[in-house]
């Protein structure tokens, strides 16, 4: 059975496409180094229009008479109070633009003006090198670094130096942890309260990494001005020990967060990047469940906990719920063994590395 994979990877090669949803212009070239906040590509989408009915406004008797009154052509850029149409004569009456804009069309005595357009800016999202430019759409950015994949994000990008401590990573972030140094920084912790989310917004932090959060805070999280990424799910279970150890290793380093919504079709998922020196291979994206794998539980009483598959059970197993499913015996810590459906397990990929000194809570990767 194909395993569900999550990267909590201390060093790997990362490629990410940063693409506009509509055609636009690309601002970078191949080989260029980019910072997370750099605009890779941008496009404008018409957003607000107004229609000037010259026939009605100037009481033109015929369509052709109205069209003769119109002094503008499609494509012309207008300033506020520019004349759009005039009757002419000694007591000429005129129509002026209410604001800046661009003439989109002149048709049947009516002038359509684009007053406003929305600018879509696609940020790089991570520090790295542009390896490919996709004309009119964006670019592929590559870097080496640590990668932690999350499960939920509030659709924003964020970056800054990682500011946290092991205690916060293990438990709940307290509002007292927010200080002057938090401004522009990326904070990380096991979980947090609504008051903390609000205080962090006041202090204009660069982003927030949490192990878990109460689902009652989803609406608040979606309104936050900074990027929020949840690593393992909803609840109060906090951050798993692998993510904790990895983040603890890189306190003070620049990190970036892409808190995009998880899209299974495209593979886009919320992620934390920590650019590092050194080289590594790209990570595995496919695997089958096998014994010995490090896993994280997705749901239930052990949600967010890290364990190891001791053995895969043959066929399907009758679960306490009465359902039958392919399952594995999973070991947590020293002695605790539980039968868990394979579908509830995320295999954690980590490139066989040792993260963090053992006295800092380092964990041996399998």
């Amino acid at each position: 059975m194909n395993a569900q994979l999550t990267q909590i990877n201390p060093l790997t090669l990362i490629h990410r496409n940063r693409l506009l949803p509509v055609p636009g212009s690309v601002n970078v070239r191949e080989g260029q180094r980019v910072a997370p906040e750099d605009i890779v590509a941008e496009a404008s989408i018409p957003a607000r229009h107004y229609l000037v009915d010259v026939v009605r406004a100037l009481s033109a008797k015929t369509l052709s008479a109205a069209e003769k009154m119109i002094t503008r052509k499609p494509g012309e850029v207008l300033q506020k109070n520019d004349i759009i149409a005039e009757t002419g004569g000694l007591f000429s009456r005129v129509i002026r633009t209410p604001g800046e804009g661009r003439v989109v069309s002149v048709n049947k005595g009516r002038v359509l003006i684009e007053a406003e357009s929305t600018r879509i800016k696609m940020q790089a999202g991570l520090a790295g090198k542009v390896t490919q430019v996709i004309p009119e759409r964006g670019a592929t950015i590559q870097c080496y670094g640590a990668l932690i994949q999350g499960v939920w994000g509030n659709a924003l990008l964020g970056c800054g130096p990682l500011t946290t401590d092991y205690e916060s990573l293990s438990g709940e972030l307290k509002t007292s942890a927010i200080g002057v140094t938090s401004r522009g920084a990326v904070l990380a912790g096991g979980t947090c309260s609504e008051a903390f989310l609000a205080a962090a917004a006041q202090e204009k932090i660069g982003g927030l990494i949490l192990g878990s959060i109460s689902s009652s805070l989803i609406s608040t999280a979606l309104e936050l001005p900074y990027a929020l990424i949840i690593l393992s799910g909803f609840g109060d279970h906090g951050m798993d020990e692998l993510s904790r150890s990895l983040l603890a290793t890189y306190i003070g380093r620049d990190v970036s967060i892409n808190a995009v919504k998880w899209n299974r079709l495209t593979g886009d998922r919320p992620e934390v990047y920590i650019p590092l020196e050194g080289e590594a291979h790209a990570y595995e994206e496919q695997a089958m469940y096998t014994s010995g794998q490090t896993v994280r539980l997705q749901t239930g009483a052990y949600a967010g906990r890290i364990g190891r598959i001791e053995s895969l059970l043959p066929g399907v197993t009758l679960l306490p719920s009465g359902l039958r499913a392919a399952a594995a015996r999973v070991v947590f810590g020293e002695n605790l063994r539980e039968i868990i459906p394979l579908s509830n397990l995320d295999v954690i990929f980590s490139n066989d590395r040792f993260i963090g000194a053992p006295d800092e809570g380092g964990v041996l990767w399998h």
């Binding site: 059975m1 509509v22 909803f234 079709l265 496919q286 997705q298 679960l319 306490p320």
Partner: protein, 575 residues
């Protein structure tokens, strides 16, 4: 397409769901089609595999193991048609649920006429109607234009005007759409489905085709009173299927192997409910409900009317949409153990993040069943509020969808259905145990015999015939005396009290005569019909008399509520 044999023997059906891919092998056993083996695997059209072939291969490999028949050649190809050795299959069908719905704007004339029909059209398939623009719209032209530009829909349903009726207003509306098309960058322009005044069809098609792809169908509102959704729905489903062909990697490659082109799940489901609708009491009608992972469906049909409604919620990734709209207390009130609302909410939001996950504990499955009840209730409330079903009594009610049918204990399945649907009158409840209905509908287009014979097989289980009584008396008051006379001359008699639910044993396949003697304070919707003994079919849960009232009101106090829910489970003999 591979042509079917004159007498096909073995049939393979695959349902590509947005979470699981399921395979079913059917063959003739003792002159009748039977389900031989079923299997499922996680759908693999998602990143990083991006090809459905892997999931189909895994499903077929498991079916091979179960039935000991070779279906795949060593090269990995499906053996089609079957070999004289019995290996392979003669027919192959695919049905697929939708992965992401079409984003639609409807443009028409009157809100209560053409735009109402456009709304029904969208409800009948995987289309999410984001906006409607009509001539009575109070927004200015430029605001309407901005709306179209901001939403950037996949499709504009352009309708309005009876055939040969209003044309000037329709032309004005067409100008709005054509301006929006010109302003949107090429590649982001919506397609147009023209289903309005047929007199303008060719003219407006020419206008729109300058900028985008146009499909046309007969007017969905050819006259003020008349409505004709079928042809436009066929076009709309074809558009959704086109999108699926793009989204589901490997589907286009697999399609030529199929006996008929792959179909959407909702089409197959509706076809079967329509078929059943013609077989049962035309005064009632058949109700089919299917709760899926991302979308859910409700279909109603009798001999005259057929309605299909698709809901943008489900028990997997579709939970997000459901949880955003509802109150978690409405879900947690169905739990038979005390648990904080936050725990229920966290569990369900996690389920939406991990749609493949399985309820492992009793608590997890109870939470899943609680939300299923609430989803069924939401579907029924929606259908009833729009008054689109000519009757609120059904015979039978068919429950499909893996999430409903995979409840391990039939009594819990029955209670879940009754709590959610809260039917009136007398209704048999049928469980589609393997969620076959949509696939059978797809197969039925070419091999109707298989569909009919499977409906009569053990793949469908009669949960119970349910008699629903309503009364305003206080809990515990006697409401009726029920006597069930068995074919062997024995009988079973019981007194039913207000607020209770009881089961009279009658095995599946057996029939009995049910005599009901109501007190003056109780009523059944079909009172006139039950003066005489009623012939009832047995079910896994027998014949059930539900005297809990409509709507079912649960006590506010958590302790009393849990006690009551447990009592109902006990009365029906839940495991």
């Amino acid at each position: 397409m591979k042509s079917g044999l004159a007498q096909p023997m073995s049939v393979l059906g695959i349902e590509i769901g947005d979470v699981h891919t399921r395979g079913h092998l059917f063959d003739i056993v003792e002159n009748s089609y039977r389900l031989i083996a079923s299997s499922s695997a996680p759908t693999t059209s998602f990143y990083p595999i991006l090809d459905i072939g892997d999931a189909i291969y895994e499903v077929l490999s498991r079916i091979q193991e179960i039935c000991g028949r070779t279906l795949i050649e060593k090269s990995g190809e499906l053996i089609l048609p079957a070999l004289p050795t019995g290996d392979g299959v003669d027919q192959f069908y695919i049905t697929t649920s939708c992965f992401s719905s079409l984003q639609v704007v409807a443009v028409g004339l009157l809100n209560d006429v053409s735009l109402d029909s456009a709304r029904k059209l969208c409800n009948a398939t995987y289309a999410n109607l984001l906006e409607s623009i009509g001539i009575n719209d109070r927004r200015s032209y430029s605001q309407q234009l901005d709306t179209l530009l901001t939403i950037r829909p996949d499709l504009v349903i352009f309708t309005g005007g009876t055939d040969g009726g209003a044309s000037r207003s329709l032309l004005r509306t067409a100008e709005l759409v054509s301006t929006a098309l010109q302003l949107l960058p090429r590649g982001t322009r919506p397609q147009i489905l023209y289903c309005g005044n047929q007199v303008l069809s060719a003219q407006l098609k020419d206008v729109f085709e300058r900028y985008t792809t146009v499909r046309s169908a007969p007017n969905i509102r050819p006259s003020f009173e008349g409505e004709n959704l079928e042809p436009a729905l066929t076009e709309l489903d074809a558009l959704v299927m086109e999108k699926m062909n793009e989204e589901i990697g490997g589907l286009k490659r697999t399609s030529p192997l199929c006996t008929t082109p792959p179909q959407l799940k909702n089409q197959g489901f509706m076809r079967m409910i329509k078929f059943l609708g013609r077989q049962y009491d035309p005064l009632k009608g058949v109700l089919g409900l299917d709760v899926g992972m991302n979308y859910s469906m409700a279909a109603y049909s009798n001999d005259r009317v057929s309605i299909l409604n698709t809901f943008n919620f489900g028990i997997g990734s579709g939970l997000e949409a459901f949880l955003r709209k509802g109150d978690i207390k409405d879900i947690s009130r169905w739990l038979t153990f005390p648990v904080p609302d936050t725990v229920v909410s966290d569990a369900l939001w996690n389920r939406s993040l991990f749609p493949l996950s399985v309820a492992a504990t009793k608590e997890e499955i109870a939470i899943e069943q609680a939300v299923l009840r609430q989803m069924l209730q939401a579907m029924m409330i929606d259908l009833e509020s729009r008054e689109i079903m000519p009757s609120s009594r059904f015979e039978p009610i068919v429950l499909s969808g893996c999430t409903v049918s995979h409840v391990a204990d039939p009594v819990r399945s029955l209670l879940l259905a009754l709590d959610g649907i809260q039917p009136l009158g007398i209704s048999p409840l049928i469980l589609d145990k393997h969620s076959l209905l949509p696939l059978l509908g797809t197969i039925a287009a070419h091999n109707s015999l298989l569909a009919v014979q499977l409906l009569e097989s053990t793949a469908f289980s009669n949960l119970a015939t349910v008699v629903n009584i309503t009364s305003k008396t206080r809990a515990g008051s006697p409401l009726l005396y029920a006597r069930l006379d068995y074919a062997d001359g024995n009988s079973f008699e019981v007194e039913v009290k207000q607020g209770s639910i009881i089961s009279l044993p009658l095995a599946p396949g057996a029939t009995g005569l049910l005599r009901l003697r109501l007190t003056s304070r109780a009523e059944i919707e079909e009172l006139a019909l039950i003066r005489e003994p009623i012939k009832v079919q047995g079910g896994v849960c027998g014949v059930v008399v539900d005297a809990r009232g409509r709507p079912i009101v649960l006590p506010e106090d958590q302790g009393r509520r849990i006690e009551l829910l447990k009592e109902w489970e006990f009365l029906l003999g839940a495991a």
